[in-house]
């Protein structure tokens, strides 16, 4: 196959109730990209993301992750593509921060000693180690979101997919999560972020994919796409609106 980490070939998905989720989507994603998947609510972003992780399987067409067919290599896919869900509260499984991060590794039956080593390393990396015995429900919004990232990161994914990572976060929380995502991208992870609010991340992105009605409408660099955002129901960043180009959100 190619050197692309994800290859999507003409996938369609229709839900059981007849609602069409995705119409004939083909796209390739190469290693190290930082992609924003933009579009208004109901445009098919979440449906698309769930295909990347094998949570939904296409009715027709194929997805290859690292050259392997997703529908036949679910575990392999889920190890390569980590997924951070929109609502951090609902994806927490463990009753302490440490257990929560260890969950994925326990599923893969990794040895206990190695789990302890890896979890400690990740928690230290993300600056969460001092919270390791706390109950996740007592953390702040930003910390919860970072915990969700840690739970994915511990499985060594190469691609990390975020569904609305900044929703419901206050300003410090957004900063925490954004800088974590930027660091991940710099360390070689491929990042895909689905959002209808592009302002926070547009400056870091290498590519924007616009979705509407389950189809990809535009695909290109942020500079090319930014002027078209509003015709698809996504707000154009302030700085660009006022003719100042794209300004980084983190100062």
């Amino acid at each position: 196959m190619t050197k692309n980490i994800i290859d999507i070939n003409a996938i369609c998905h229709t839900f059981a109730d007849g609602y069409i989720g995705l119409k004939n989507i083909s796209v390739s994603i190469s290693k190290g990209e930082f992609i924003i998947l933009a579009g208004k609510n109901g445009s098919g972003k979440t449906t698309f993301l769930r295909h990347l992780n094998g949570l939904l399987l296409p009715d027709s067409g194929v997805i290859f992750v690292k050259g392997l067919d997703v529908s036949k290599h679910l575990v392999q896919t889920r190890k390569t593509v980590g997924m951070v869900f929109q609502d951090a509260d609902t994806q927490i499984v463990g009753d302490t921060v440490f257990d929560e991060v260890a969950f994925g590794l326990e599923n893969l039956k990794v040895k206990r000693a190695e789990i302890n080593k890896k979890v400690t390393l990740i928690l230290e990396d993300l600056n969460l180690f001092h919270l390791k015995d706390r109950s996740p429900s007592t953390l702040s919004g930003g910390e919860k979101r970072k915990l969700a990232i840690a739970g994915i990161l511990v499985m060594d994914p190469e691609v990390i997919v975020f569904d609305e990572p900044f929703s419901n976060l206050d300003y410090p929380g957004t900063i925490q999560v954004l800088s974590t995502i930027i660091d991940l991208n710099r360390s070689g992870h491929t990042i895909i972020i689905a959002t209808h609010d592009v302002e926070t991340v547009i400056c870091e992105a290498t590519r924007i994919i616009m979705m509407e009605d389950g189809q990809i409408k535009k695909d290109g660099t942020p500079d090319c796409i930014v002027k078209h955002l509003e015709s698809f129901g996504v707000r154009q960043p302030c700085s660009s609106k006022f003719g100042m180009g794209l300004q980084p959100w983190l100062s």
């Binding site: 769930r50 992780n53 094998g54 949570l55 575990v75 889920r78 190890k79 980590g82 997924m83 869900f85 929109q86 609502d87 509260d89 609902t90 994806q91 927490i92 499984v93 463990g94 009753d95 302490t96 257990d99 969950f103 994925g104 590794l105 326990e106 599923n107 893969l108 039956k109 990794v110 040895k111 206990r112 789990i115 302890n116 015995d133 109950s135 996740p136 429900s137 007592t138 739970g151 994915i152 499985m155």
Partner: protein
């Protein structure tokens, strides 16, 4: 000290001592009460705060005491309205209430020196030899329900506040009040449970998982022997 003890050992000790309490006499109970006080002091737990947290249970014990004192037949000490308080009843009521009280305190000592997650690991370990019980899934279910609880409580508060804000407390029909509190709560949490299912699937959930780890402090044998001796002496005294 108790904090560091292997949770499995602690659990067995708690069961052993609690069982032996059921046949302990008054003197043995007082003796064990002193032992418990010693451990409460040692672990730095505030006994009054602990008692406060079980105040309803204590009220219940008074009720048992009174019920027994009135119900048992024997030498009447005094009587009123046709009910007579007997000597045997008083003794017996006191003993039964005292035993329950001590078993309760033992349980509190255990739970306040043990992390919920290690309790979960211990349950998994003890269930292992039980046939037809998928102990690993049980352990996952325990941690799931523990992490659901604070979320549900928070949502229950939100739901009831949202209704108060719209004068929902004027509703007098109790059936409607129950439905209006519980239905949104259940709907909301089941919806988020669907997300949790997805999140677990995306993290490769399987029943075949790594075993929990236990960290013995090395003093288990000493403590366990101690609790055997204690139990025996409680039964014999």
């Amino acid at each position: 000290m108790l904090h560091l003890l292997d949770v499995r050992c602690k659990f067995l000790m708690m069961c052993l001592v609690s069982m032996s309490m059921l046949s302990a006499q008054v003197f043995a109970c007082f003796f064990y009460f002193l032992v418990l006080l010693f451990f409460f002091k040692k672990t730095g737990l505030n006994i009054f705060a602990t008692l406060n947290s079980i105040k309803y249970f204590i009220l219940f014990l008074f009720f048992i005491f009174a019920a027994r004192a009135l119900a048992l037949k024997g030498d009447s000490l005094f009587s009123f309205y046709g009910l007579s308080v007997t000597k045997q009843g008083l003794n017996d009521g006191f003993l039964v209430a005292f035993r329950f009280f001590l078993v309760m305190l033992t349980g509190l000592l255990f739970s306040s020196t043990t992390k919920p997650s290690s309790v979960k690991s211990a349950v998994q370990w003890f269930l292992k030899p039980v046939p037809f019980v998928p102990e690993k899934r049980v352990a996952v279910m325990i941690s799931l329900s523990l992490s659901f609880m604070p979320v549900i409580l928070k949502q229950a508060k939100e739901v009831s506040e949202a209704q108060k804000a719209r004068c929902g407390d004027l509703q007098k029909n109790p059936i409607k009040r129950i439905i209006r509190l519980v239905l949104p709560l259940l709907k909301k949490t089941f919806l988020s449970a669907d997300y949790l299912v997805l999140a677990m699937e995306s993290r490769c959930y399987s029943d075949d998982r790594t075993d929990p780890e236990f960290t013995p402090s090395g003093k288990e044998f000493f403590f366990f022997a101690g609790s055997v001796v204690l139990s025996l002496s409680l039964v014999c005294l």
